[in-house]
């Protein structure tokens, strides 16, 4: 099997240092919405400078290079054991090159492994066999600060008056945004999943974040709720970094899962403005980066 270690290092470099154009565009557009001279506007302007600088110098956009989340879609014939080894080797090397910060800490003994490799769980890799011919590796870096403000609700939630329907979902998501304040490095992007069990629900709320900015759910009811949540979140005036301002949430993505009759979970994953996700496609001999 082909060795893709070097190509994966390049994927990591791009993900860590070069923000996707759709995210950058949204951020740039939001500058105009903030008052000239305000702290909110100053924050967005600094963010834009930082994005350019990181790209030019191949340095991490943010020092918290987060949890590396890999999604691998592989055609028949690839070995996931080999791919996993290559991904881990690439991550270790990318860390040596300072594209990544050593981020894997043994939770029991409080020791940083120093090479970004934890047990089997770090980095997080999800393999999915596909019927297509191309191997696709997607990578997202999910920062810790924004991960900490993610929330899960079990509906009904009486304190918020949230029942087991989309109206209830709306209420708990707005609550999550209010509680997050600027702590998740607002402006953020919301990944919301409805249903599942506690584990699958959280995983899905991250998976939806792999889609592009502005991608709406095909279900018109969910699409409408996505837009409404973005709009109403911004009415709360939390603003970039929580300084106060008009830009709190850049986009919302919702997905639904099957649930047990007894459970109704809503999970909210908050993604900071440093919304780092990239993709590489192996097409025959060629490797294409998005």
């Amino acid at each position: 099997m082909r060795d893709l270690t070097q190509e994966i290092i390049e994927l990591i470099r791009r993900t860590s240092s070069s923000l996707p154009p759709d995210v950058e565009k949204r951020l740039r557009e939001s500058i105009e919405k903030e008052e000239p001279g305000s702290a909110a506007r100053g924050a967005l302007e600094t963010i834009m400078k930082n994005i350019e600088l990181s790209r030019a110098n191949s340095t991490p956009i943010c020092q918290d290079t987060g949890t590396p989340i890999f999604q691998v879609h592989y055609p028949v014939g690839w070995s996931t054991i080999q791919l996993k080894k290559q991904i881990r080797a690439a991550l270790e090397e990318a860390t040596k090159k300072s594209f990544m910060r050593p981020n894997a800490v043994d939770a029991i003994y409080d020791r940083n492994t120093g090479n970004n490799l934890g047990g089997d769980d770090f980095p997080y890799i999800h393999f999915e066999e596909t019927e297509g011919e191309d191997l696709v590796i997607e990578l997202m870096l999910k920062g810790g600060g924004c991960e900490n403000v993610g929330r899960q609700y079990s509906l009904p939630d009486n304190s918020l008056g949230a029942g087991r329907d989309l109206a209830g979902v709306r209420k708990v998501v707005l609550d999550a945004v209010q509680k997050a304040q600027g702590q998740g490095c607002a402006p953020g992007i919301l990944g919301v999943s409805i249903g599942g069990d506690r584990g699958s629900s959280y995983i899905k709320s991250k998976e939806v974040l792999f889609s592009e900015m502005g991608t709406r759910n095909k279900d018109p009811n969910l699409a409408e709720l996505e837009e409404r949540l973005t709009k109403e979140s911004n009415e709360m005036g939390i603003g970039p970094m929580g300084f106060g301002g008009k830009t709190t949430v850049l986009d919302t993505k919702i997905t639904g899962l099957s649930r047990l009759p007894a459970s109704y979970f809503v999970s909210v994953s908050y993604m900071c403005w440093a919304y780092r996700r990239r993709k590489m496609t192996v097409k025959g001999e060629e490797v294409i980066y998005d």
């Binding site: 943010c62 020092q63 910060r101 600060g145 603003g239």
Partner: protein
């Protein structure tokens, strides 16, 4: 934009108000979770006996932190093997995790400013009034940009905590921050939190 150089005087601190944009210059020390826990347990509450070079580091820190600034930051640093350190990415980390410790650390070491992101709570706000000190909010995630303001890495303590958790002694030039908690009891975080809570209540009423 106000320009401030460390060490910072009482007057200069009292002069700062919530909302002020400041460019910081001079020496400061990074410290986050492990560092704060270690300072509290070893030197302030003394629930853990000093080990290894703890006491030497303590003497150095007393001098370095007096009138200066602690930066909540876990940087990406190159040259860790060679000792030719360079800050590659160095944005702020979430400060609220240091809420149990911060006020005591500020008072013990006479720390005049804390840089981080997300703001801190009532205990630290009180610490800011008493020390006196302020909370400087840096732009979360602006790591490459902020690393460029680090003109020199003087050295590092407690590298055994790991690169992000170690105490790095750095020199910065015009490091941009916004005062979001001042020494007069003002907190932008409390204001935004209250205002957004009111809006949330209205939103929850909407069909």
């Amino acid at each position: 934009m106000k320009h401030i150089t460390t060490p910072i005087s009482d007057d200069a601190i009292r002069d700062l108000k919530v909302g002020d944009s400041v460019a910081l210059t001079g020496r400061m020390v990074t410290g986050r979770d492990a560092a704060h826990k270690w300072m509290i347990e070893t030197f302030i509450k003394k629930t853990r006996p000093p080990q290894g070079d703890d006491m030497q580091v303590y003497e150095e820190l007393k001098k370095l932190l007096n009138g200066s600034v602690i930066y909540h930051c876990g940087p990406v640093v190159s040259g860790v093997d060679t000792g030719e350190y360079k800050f590659i990415a160095a944005g702020p980390t979430t400060s609220i995790r240091e809420e149990p410790y911060q006020a005591d650390v500020m008072k013990h070491f006479n720390v005049r400013g804390v840089i981080g992101k997300g703001g801190m709570g009532a205990k630290t706000l009180k610490g800011c009034q008493e020390t006196p000190g302020v909370y400087f909010h840096a732009i979360g995630g602006a790591a490459s940009f902020l690393a460029q303001t680090v003109t020199k890495v003087h050295g590092v303590f407690k590298l055994e905590f790991g690169v992000p958790e170690a105490l790095w002694v750095i020199e910065v030039k015009e490091f941009p921050v916004v005062v979001t908690m001042d020494s007069h009891g003002g907190s932008q975080h409390a204001v935004v939190d209250d205002a957004s809570k009111k809006v949330l209540e209205q939103l929850l009423e909407r069909p």
